[in-house]
């Protein structure tokens, strides 16, 4: 074997279990709501807040429920982040920027091209100007939004993952939550809880990146997109540093190989509290590429070594990012009884590394469409029209080919991207065709030597998972669905894909350490399918 195509080993999406007729047996409690929102991230919460405000202004009462799989708000939220405040200003016109849950305005910034030994300062690409934006922790943003939502009477249920879509014919009726307390073999125990059915007139899927139910709905309803969605994996660390940092930094180049796309970010939440991460497109060509290991290597670069010396890594985490942009959006993000929000729909602009304000605005537009739908029976497709007429669509269209150009490699891609920037997206034109990440062949050799994560400032995956706050029950049944027979080369590939050490190639086969999983979804993109497990499992991010 000299190369592997991950698609050959990825089971299909288990639609039979994901789509369930409403009324089917198997659930415990049943709850009826007006609007059900799956996911208490920025998109879901913005939707809930706008809906609650519309209802209040209209003097009607709406029973709004938000389901969140993490044990507490924010614990599964992770981003850089530099936030464009416009969605906050729209949602809270009476508040000032200083009232919002941001850490600091972006003051200075710098972009560097790195080689192993050196760095070259580049002029900041126009798409990456962050003046007027704010450095923030998405965890803090989510907790703040959550408090606002609850103050408006929204019911936020943490610890309840949505596992299945409840449907009535071709319409979405709600969701069924995952059971809790299953034993190692997946059997219920006396202390556990059965799945709950939550039915609503409209269900908003705001599950975040690679949302399971969003995928299931699109496939079930055969909603096409011009390109398949593609993803990058970001691995992030939060450091308390001895040395202060006064600027936002982005880097390109080393240690990412030239046939892969990505870069790093270094953001000071406080002068001595620094968020840093490495983001790499999952269409990389080398089966041995390991994003976590590359991040450990990056920290050795002269640019960062002095900054981190004597410091302490206080948190670690990982998450995928949908990178396909405009052409990967589903043709419609609304249907009978359902709307798709935020990252689950793909509203992320890679060249500017922004998605939070798009997520929130998609939630706001969805809320308006949902409100009219409930009040007057107006079609939910109004949501699509609102988004298409908004800056969300305009921004994504302008950069529609920029990430895609990098499928041709760093240098060629860089040139094309520069041209696109100069021409405002008019040239090169056309549409770059992309393959799904899982279909991209990976060469086994010559390969990168993944090397060890153990360096003076490096941390192993086991220690990293501990720092994500992961305290998943060790006896939990595995939530990951691999192919039946996985050759050892593919097992090894999985072990490099997963930043959390879930997969090991041991004794000629694949060992799965499911409790390690931090729900980044890289596995769902390239390897075994991810399904939700009992609420509260996974990481407990605090300031990521």
């Amino acid at each position: 074997m000299d190369k592997i195509v991950p698609a050959q080993y990825q089971p299909p999406l288990p639609l039979d279990t994901l789509i369930v007729q409403d009324g089917a047996e198997g659930s415990g409690d049943r709850m009826e709501l007006d609007v059900l929102i799956v996911g208490a991230g920025p998109a879901g919460l913005a939707c809930a807040i706008e809906l609650a405000r519309l209802a209040k202004a209209d003097r009607t009462e709406l029973n709004i429920g938000v389901l969140e799989k993490a044990e507490a708000l924010g614990e599964h939220s992770l981003s850089g982040a530099v936030v464009n405040p416009r969605a906050f200003r729209e949602l809270f016109p009476d508040l000032k920027d200083s009232d919002f849950p941001f850490r600091a305005p972006v003051a200075k910034e710098a972009v560097y091209l790195l080689t192993a030994e050196r760095r070259w300062r580049l002029p900041t690409p126009p798409t990456m100007h962050n003046r007027g934006y704010y450095i923030a922790s998405l965890c803090e943003v989510v907790r703040w939004l959550g408090a606002k939502a609850e103050a408006l009477g929204v019911n936020v249920f943490t610890g309840f993952p949505a596992a299945q879509l409840l449907v009535r014919d071709a319409a979405v009726a709600g969701v069924r939550t995952a059971p809790a307390g299953l034993d190692r073999d997946g059997k219920p125990t006396p202390g556990g809880t059965a799945p709950n059915d939550l039915v609503a007139k409209v269900t908003a899927l705001a599950e975040g990146t690679r949302g399971l139910l969003a995928q299931a709905w699109c496939q079930w309803q055969r909603v096409p997109s011009e390109n398949p969605q593609i993803f990058a994996l970001g691995v992030k660390e939060l450091w308390e540093t001895q040395q202060p940092l006064d600027r936002v930094i982005h880097t390109l180049g080393w240690p990412i190989p030239s046939d892969a796309f990505g870069g790093s970010f270094v953001y000071p939440l406080e002068p001595n509290l620094v968020a840093l991460g490495l983001v790499v497109g999952l269409d990389y060509r080398d089966a041995a590429l390991d994003v976590h290991v590359l991040l450990q290597r990056l920290k050795q670069h002269r640019l960062l070594r002095a900054l981190l010396a004597g410091g302490e890594m206080v948190e670690w985490g990982a998450k995928t990012i949908p990178e396909g942009g405009f052409y990967s959006l589903p043709e419609r993000r609304s249907g009978a009884g359902v709307v798709l929000l935020g990252d689950a729909a793909g509203f992320v602009d890679v060249p500017s590394l922004k998605g939070i304000h798009y997520a929130m605005h998609s939630g706001i537009y969805a809320a308006r469409a949902i409100f009219q739908n409930l009040k007057n029976g107006a079609a939910l497709s109004a949501y699509d029209r609102l988004v298409d007429a908004s800056y969300i669509a305009r921004d994504l269209y302008r950069t529609r080919n920029m990430r895609l150009a990098f499928r041709d490699g760093f240098y060629l891609g860089g040139i094309q991207a520069a041209l696109m920037t100069l021409t405002g997206g008019r040239f090169p034109n056309g549409k770059y065709r992309m393959h799904a990440d899982v279909e991209v062949a990976r060469r086994l050799s010559p390969g990168l030597r993944p090397g060890s994560a153990e360096t003076p400032v490096g941390v192993s995956k086991v220690d990293a998972v501990f720092k994500s706050g992961n305290s998943t029950r060790d006896t939990i049944p595995s939530h990951l669905i691999p192919a039946k027979d996985v050759p050892v080369e593919v097992a090894r590939f999985y072990s490099h894909v997963c930043p959390a050490g879930v997969y090991e190639a041991i004794d000629g086969g694949l060992r799965i350490n499911a409790p390690n999983c931090v729900d980044c979804k890289a596995t769902d993109v390239l390897g075994p399918r991810w399904t939700p497990r009992e609420g509260g499992s996974g990481p407990k991010y605090k300031r990521m």
Binding site: S460, V465, F466, S471, E504, R511, P515, N516
Partner: protein, 319 residues
């Protein structure tokens, strides 16, 4: 001003933890009166003299044959009031944790509980107590008289400072207790939850086969009921050990005082959670095994030789 050192007896025999209490009381200066509640003579009570008790008082009443919380609290509170002591010291043993607050309440104060250090600062007593699961130390000034303290076990290593230890027996009358100890029954064997054990001995694949876990079970038994045998997930997945024994990498439930990792390389899995253990000992034949970087103390070599020797030494200590 003297300190009242409350000794602990069970079935008429002095418990060794009492030596720590007298040692600590000695540190406060001003003399130590040791006191114990018992139905009759307490074997080994005279040992308190070795550690600094000027007086050893046995308060007797048939009710004290078994632990009688209300009667004991009443008797001790009255003795404390009578003696005008500056300080009363208990061991924060299972019984001490129950008893000390009852006595303190009768004296109208709280207990400075589970302390790991004490000193006098001018006229005041200043103590140190671990809080937040040992992640921080709280220094507290006790502005009460008497000050009531309880000592974390195994911290105030007994120091011999022989004093007269004049013995006195006082029969006391106590109220009939509403709470009565019926009996002390043996803890069912092998039910010590890995999550709760003070000592965890964990085995990994280095043990080679399931039957070899016996070596770890022998060591656990030598600790006399405080130790549990844990296993890495790999070993549990392989079916060698029960699921309930698993000590996982997430480590959410594990924080023993002593964690002994046997035949665990630490290369992957397992490690991260058990980091919150107070002391980590590693036994492995590979001197470069990553676990040695995490361990406080390591022994390199054949575990099948080392562990039995350790079992022998621990048995000697606890015997």
């Amino acid at each position: 001003m003297t300190t009242l050192a409350v000794l602990e007896q069970r079935d008429g025999v002095l418990r060794k933890i009492s030596h720590e209490v007298v040692t600590a009381a000695q540190r406060l200066g001003g003399g130590v009166e040791a006191v114990v509640c018992a139905a009759g003579v307490v074997q080994g009570a005279d040992q308190a003299a070795k550690f600094g008790a000027d007086k050893i008082v046995t308060l007797t009443n048939p009710a004290f044959a078994k632990y009688a919380p209300e009667a004991c609290a009443q008797a001790l509170a009255e003795r404390a009031k009578l003696g005008g002591h500056r300080c009363i010291v208990f061991a924060a043993s299972a019984t001490g944790k129950d008893l000390a607050p009852r006595v303190a309440a009768k004296l109208g104060v709280a207990v400075a509980a589970d302390i790991t250090d004490l000193a006098t600062d001018g006229g005041a007593i200043v103590v140190t107590r671990p809080v937040y699961a040992g992640k921080a130390l709280l220094k507290v000034k006790v502005a009460a008289q008497p000050a009531v303290l309880s000592l974390r076990p195994n911290v105030f290593t007994p120091v011999e400072r022989p004093k007269a230890g004049a013995a006195e027996t006082v029969a006391v009358t106590v109220p009939a207790g509403r709470v009565t100890v019926r009996e002390i029954k043996a803890a069912p064997a092998g039910t010590l939850d890995v999550a709760e054990a003070q000592v965890i001995i964990s085995g990994g694949r280095g043990l080679k086969e399931p039957a070899n876990f016996k070596v770890l079970e022998d060591l656990a038994r030598a600790f006399g009921g405080q130790a549990a045998v844990g296993a890495s997930r790999a070993v549990v997945d392989a079916g060698w050990r029960a699921h309930a024994d698993q000590v996982g990498q997430t480590g959410k439930t594990v924080s023993p005082s002593l964690y002994i990792a046997v035949g665990i390389s630490g290369a992957i899995q397992h490690l991260a959670g058990m980091r919150t253990s107070k002391v980590i000992v590693a036994i492995n034949k590979d001197k470069d095994a990553p676990i040695f970087k995490v361990a406080d103390y390591g022994v390199v070599g054949d575990l099948f030789e080392i562990v039995p020797k350790l079992t022998e030494e621990i048995r000697k200590l606890h015997g």
